[in-house]
Every structure is written in structure tokens, then in C-alpha cells.
């Protein structure tokens, strides 16, 4: 790994209200890597993700994107380096699916500039890769929950930054679409050298699709390592407060709550 890490955290301490999310966290996301962040609800996964995207300040430590500190960089410059899919989908008052997808080109355009034909092609390709191509002219208000979730991912694929942070992207998706979405993201990592960080609630999906896993236990306690090492009976029981048992099948060993 001679290339610069897409994301680099040094001794990052994040606190939200009374909750300590992480203390002196240091890690790097390299091109082509897929990370999972797992932890019980309310432990601060979303807060951590927002901090990594420099959408909120850390209490201590630094976040670097492609070798440059995020502090004192403009939002516009940051938006070319990192894209975020929020946990909650929120829509404008009105607008078509295509118009929303095109907002992904915003950080690249000047104030008076209109989206070019190439921007439209990018947006259309992103929509099609998520199976939304035929909905391009639909009003966003008429979409189903799963379609909205995929549209939010399509925006970030249209934005096309080197680092993608996705907060529970498989919520609202049926199992077929869950796997298809994660395969798509892993494909972007492998083929285009994107870095992908996913907040997930499902250790099965994490072990199947992610190279690295970060477990947030609460009160700042955490560990991260390769997924196969990080996810085990002891760590998952500690993470979710329930015993987990291994099941072996075609996809290897997965852990399910007992």
C-alpha cells in the first residue's frame, strides 16, 4: 500500500452529549478497502461517520483525507473527496429522481454553471446501476422506502468521490437489493479503488462483504481488525449483549444470535 490512505484518523476522540463514542481512535482506509462499523443502537456510529466526513468537529485528534487535514478546508473541496449517505432519508419539497441525482454534481459546478450532458450521463448511469433508471422522471415523493434509499446511494455515486461513507445503506431494502447494493459498492472499491465505510447492523453482511470491521462497544471501548478476526463469539456477545453461534455454509462461517 504505497498510495496515500483515503482516510486517516489520528487519536480521534468523539463525544456526543454525555456519550463517549471513541477515544484516541487511529485507523486508515486505503483505496479498495471496504470497512464495516458495527455497534448497538445509540453507541454513536452515525456521529462517528459524520465526524469522519468533517460534518461535525471532533473533541480531539484529526481526520485526514488523501493526506490533507480536513480542518480549515472548504465544504466544497471536502465534497469532492468524501460522499455521505445519511441514515435518515430526507427529500426536497418537490423534484424528480433525476434532479435529485444531479445534486451529486453540485461540488464540481460553478455558481452559474448548469449540469452538462456528461453530468446527466453520470447521474443516469448511477441511477441505472441501482435499478432506478426507469424512474428518472418520477417525483421523489412517489418513491417507496427502498427506492428512496437506493436514490440516496445514487446521489453519492453521481458525486463519485474517492471515499464513500454510508450510514445503514441496506435499511428498507429487501434481501435481494441488500446483496445487490453491497456487491455494487464492493465492486466500486475493487475496480475503481474507492474506499467504502459502511455502518451495518448485520454481522452476516459485514463478514460477507467487508474487509475490515470496527466494533463500537460503548463508552469509548472499541476494536478494529480484519473482519474474520474481529467478528467472533466473544466480541459479538460483548457487542450486542447476546450469545452468538457460528453456522457454516457455502459462504463460509457466519455468526447468528443464539
Amino acid at each position: 500500500m504505497s498510495r496515500l490512505p483515503l482516510l486517516r484518523c489520528r487519536r480521534l476522540t468523539v463525544r456526543v452529549g454525555e456519550t463517549l463514542v471513541c477515544r484516541e481512535l487511529s485507523f486508515e482506509v486505503h483505496p479498495g478497502e471496504v470497512w464495516a462499523i458495527l455497534g448497538p443502537s445509540g453507541v454513536g456510529k452515525s456521529t462517528l461517520l459524520h465526524t469522519l466526513a468533517a460534518l461535525r468537529p471532533a473533541q480531539a485528534g484529526e481526520v485526514w483525507l488523501e493526506g490533507r487535514p480536513t480542518r480549515s478546508r472548504s465544504r466544497r473541496a471536502l465534497a469532492r473527496q468524501v460522499g455521505v449517505v445519511m441514515q435518515q432519508y430526507s427529500a426536497p419539497l418537490a423534484g424528480t429522481v433525476m434532479e435529485l441525482a444531479l445534486t451529486g454534481r453540485h461540488p464540481y459546478l460553478r455558481a452559474w454553471e448548469w449540469e452538462s450532458a456528461q453530468d446527466r450521463r453520470r447521474a443516469m448511469a448511477a441511477l441505472e446501476s441501482l435499478g432506478l433508471g426507469r424512474l428518472a422522471e418520477r417525483q421523489v415523493g412517489t418513491l417507496s422506502g427502498g427506492e428512496r434509499r437506493r436514490l440516496a446511494v445514487a446521489v453519492v455515486l453521481t458525486q463519485d468521490p474517492p471515499l464513500l461513507l454510508l450510514d445503514e445503506p441496506v435499511n428498507d431494502l429487501d434481501p435481494g437489493h441488500q446483496v445487490a447494493l453491497l456487491e455494487l459498492l464492493v465492486g466500486r472499491a475493487r475496480e475503481q479503488g474507492k474506499g467504502v465505510v459502511l455502518v451495518l447492523h448485520d454481522p452476516v453482511l459485514a463478514s460477507r462483504f467487508c474487509d475490515m470491521a470496527m466494533l463500537l462497544f460503548g463508552a469509548g471501548a472499541m476494536l478494529w481488525s480484519e473482519t474474520g478476526t474481529a467478528l467472533g463469539a466473544a466480541s459479538l456477545a460483548r457487542l450486542y449483549g447476546r450469545p452468538f453461534a457460528p453456522y457454516s455454509g457455502q459462504q463460509g462461517t457466519v455468526w447468528l444470535p443464539a
Binding site: H50, A53, L55, S74, R75, R76, A77, L78, A79, R80, V82, G83, V84, M86, S90, A91, P92, L93, A94, G95, T96, E99, L100, T103, G104, H106, P107, L109, A111, W112, W114, E137, Q139, G141, T142, V155, Q159
Partner: protein
């Protein structure tokens, strides 16, 4: 759903038609060829055209356009489809200042000046109160504005209750929105030009900001700065419109939705589209207000509401499938 370019073209053509209608109709029929009347008409016709009809038609157009743009900005600022230009108390501040001005015997430019001063005072008051210790969320801004507006409303009622009978009709007409004395569209037109010139370069930011604060920040928008600018632009536009014509309701709330339902959801189409449609509709409404019960003149705010409500409901039923 109409293509945005076609929509804007239609609206650009609608504007002169509306102005022409306003020039042609009234107690003195001038026909549909105002330029001809200007050249070969009698001196009375010329006078009516140049000193009465034209300034009033332009005032109506500028007021409608200004309110519609202000409404579009408020709706995206507060991310609330029910927002209108008056929701944050700008017009309430103007109303209190105007009513006090009427009581003090002010008129003409002095009265306009006090209306504008009241509107800007209210703008700064809400900004200061909503800002608090740094965090400036749309919910906080909305609640602060609505509460301040309610305070102005109480003061308005108090002034009306205490004012001598002879002032009441003028006060009520002002509160309902009325173009009877609006013969100087110049300042409001300047505010509209400034408002559009400063908000159009932000139009794509607004498209992104309409999704939400975090989403917009993640797409490279400096949300805090954008919202401060939009707040002050919308307030300035509202202040200019209210100063010219009082509290004309409905235009600022409904016209942006009409443009959106016709396919103008992109703010680069919505802002100019709302200006054109708002201006045209208010010009036509004021023509009706002058002529329906002539020689009696109705407050144009009544007409906008009476026509706008059914039209909007119709659009709402047919627009979204």
C-alpha cells in the same frame, strides 16, 4: 408536467398579456392598443394611461413578483411547504409601524419609510433571537419568527381597538393588501432586481439545501452562510412588497407551489418562474379588483385568495399522480 424551458417561455409571454389587460380595462375603456392611445388618444386618455394605469399595473406586477420570490425562498429556508413571506413576522413589523404612522398622520414617502423600517426591525429582531448561542436551526428560526409574528398581531389588534373610527378603513385596507395608493413601484422593483440578482447564483445551492442541512453540507454547501443570505434576501423582498402594497396574502404561499406543480422544481427555474407568474397573477387580480364592482374598488388581497384557492386545489389534484 411541462418542460422547464417551455414553462419559462409561456410565463414570459404571460407577463405582457397581463400588463396589457390591466392597461386596457377600467372605468375608462382604453382598448387593447395602449401604444396607439398614447400617440393619438385624447389628453385625458393619455393621462389615465400614464399617471394611473401604468404605475398601478407595474406596482401590481412588482409586488406579485417580489412576494412570489420571497415565498419561494422562505419555503426552502424553512424546508416547509406552508411557509409564506409573512411567516417570520416581517409584515407584522411593517404593519405595526404603518398603523402607528397612519395614527401620527404620516403619508406618502414617510409612511412607506416607516413600513420598511418596521419590516427591517422585525427581521433583525427575529435573526437576533433565533441565533441565540450560535445554533440556528430551521425549527428554531420558524418558532421564533412565528412567535414574534404573533406578538406583532397582538399589537395590531391593540392599535385597531384604540384607533379613532375615521382611521379604521384605511388601516383595514392596508392590512388586507391594497394597491389603491401604490403608484411608485420603483423602490420595490429595485429590491426585486437586487433580490433576483443575488439569489439566482445561489439557486443550485438551494436545490441541494432543499434536501436538508447535513445532506447539503455533505454536498459542499456552506449551509450557515447560505441560510443567513436567504433569510435576509427574503426579508428584504417581503419588506419591499409590504411597503408598496400592504399585506397581500396568498401570492407568496401559492405561486411557488404552482410553478413547482407545473414542473419548475429546480430553483433556477422556480425563482424567475415564480417572479413572472406572481407578477402576472397579481396584475390580473388587481384589474379585477378595480373593475368587478366599479366604481367600488376591492382590496386585491381578497381577489387573490378567492381566485387562488380553487385554482391551487385544482392544480394539486391534477398535478401529482
Amino acid at each position: 408536467m411541462v418542460r422547464p424551458r417551455l414553462l419559462l417561455t409561456v410565463l414570459v409571454l404571460l407577463a405582457p398579456c397581463a400588463l396589457l389587460t390591466a392597461l386596457a380595462n377600467g372605468s375608462l375603456a382604453l382598448g387593447w392598443d395602449p401604444l396607439g392611445r398614447l400617440l393619438d388618444g385624447s389628453s385625458l386618455q393619455r393621462q389615465v394611461l400614464l399617471q394611473l394605469r401604468l404605475p398601478r399595473a407595474l406596482s401590481g406586477f412588482v409586488t406579485g413578483a417580489t412576494l412570489a420570490v420571497a415565498g419561494s425562498l422562505m419555503q426552502v429556508l424553512l424546508r416547509n411547504p406552508l411557509a409564506d413571506p409573512y411567516i417570520l413576522g416581517v409584515s407584522g413589523g411593517a404593519a405595526v409601524a404603518t398603523l402607528l404612522g397612519i395614527l401620527a398622520g404620516l403619508g406618502g414617502w414617510a409612511l412607506s419609510g416607516s413600513a420598511f423600517a418596521g419590516a427591517m426591525l422585525s427581521t433583525l429582531l427575529v435573526f437576533g433571537l433565533a441565533r441565540g448561542r450560535g445554533s440556528w436551526t430551521s425549527t428554531r428560526l420558524l418558532l421564533t419568527g412565528v412567535v414574534v409574528a404573533a406578538g406583532w398581531g397582538a399589537l395590531i389588534t391593540l392599535i385597531l381597538a384604540l384607533s379613532p373610527q375615521s382611521y379604521l378603513r384605511g388601516m383595514l385596507f392596508w392590512l388586507m393588501g391594497d394597491l389603491t395608493d401604490a403608484y411608485h413601484p420603483g423602490p420595490a422593483a429595485a429590491a426585486l432586481a437586487v433580490g433576483l440578482a443575488l439569489s439566482m447564483p445561489l439557486a443550485r445551492d438551494l436545490n441541494v439545501a432543499a434536501r436538508g442541512e447535513l445532506e447539503a453540507a455533505a454536498l459542499g454547501v456552506d449551509v450557515g452562510r447560505l441560510r443567513r443570505r436567504i433569510y435576509f434576501l427574503a426579508s428584504l423582498l417581503t419588506a419591499a412588497a409590504v411597503t408598496l402594497a400592504g399585506n397581500i396574502g396568498f401570492v407568496g404561499l401559492v405561486v411557488p407551489h404552482m410553478v413547482r406543480l407545473l414542473g419548475g422544481t429546480d430553483h433556477r427555474v422556480l425563482l424567475p418562474g415564480a417572479a413572472l407568474l406572481g407578477g402576472s397573477l397579481l396584475t390580473l387580480a388587481d384589474t379585477l379588483a378595480r373593475t368587478v364592482l366599479a366604481p367600488q374598488q376591492l382590496p386585491v388581497g381578497v381577489i387573490t385568495a378567492l381566485i387562488g384557492v380553487p385554482v391551487f386545489l385544482l392544480l394539486l389534484r391534477s398535478g401529482r399522480t
